[in-house]
Symmetry: C2
Subunit: 140 residues, 2 copies
Amino acid sequence: MFHSDGFHTLDRPECLRLLAKVPVGRVVYTRQALPAVLPVNFSLDTDSSVLLRTSASSVLVRAIDGVVVAFEADDFDAASRSGWSVVVTGRATVVTDPAEHDRLSRSGPRSWVVARDGVFVRIESDMVTGREISGTPEPV
Amino acid sequence: MFHSDGFHTLDRPECLRLLAKVPVGRVVYTRQALPAVLPVNFSLDTDSSVLLRTSASSVLVRAIDGVVVAFEADDFDAASRSGWSVVVTGRATVVTDPAEHDRLSRSGPRSWVVARDGVFVRIESDMVTGREISGTPEPV
């Protein structure tokens, strides 16, 4: 679907394909009643949920465990005024099942920083939206 | 300041210097009680506030005019596991003063898409935070 604003809406398979291409996204949540956002590296699980690895004692985990968050990733090129963005909106939960934690320790994302008390956080991907802009001419 | 988690806190001048280097950031706000995020191109005004240009009738403008939002920009390199992110938290307001609108029409950001009813939105930059990660080794 093309909109009059120049954006093309992406379907779910296309959104998930693009999400898998980038290493970093941004968790969007509320902290002390203010909008908050934190970039993190991530991967997609086999069920297409978003997986992060962080410290169990982090401010992020305290803020988002059990809460609906947004997760955004994008890739834009300013020279050609083109690119895409995808937003996953879903409940974030710390993975507490030991077998699941073991599986993700082998196949899940690795944190860019050392976290001795590392946990995995899963963001459910029931709601995935995306849009693309491709090479709009410079407005006059 | 270096933290044990491998991140280096950036001061305000460094945050503003980095913000000025990238064309696209993300507005973080609340829509229908859910966290929401939208990438936009932007520029910094002479007072370091963040300026966007969008359609007056957009969902974004209706959601954020007069409201405190977060605005995030970043640049990461996965190969070297390094990069930075900056978050501006402040009130967003549509620019309604005609002289100010005229000034920004000459010097402000240009939307990547054509908006016949284009308005400028200013996000105050009283609160600016940033952090940097530089080349952490791969965790074992």
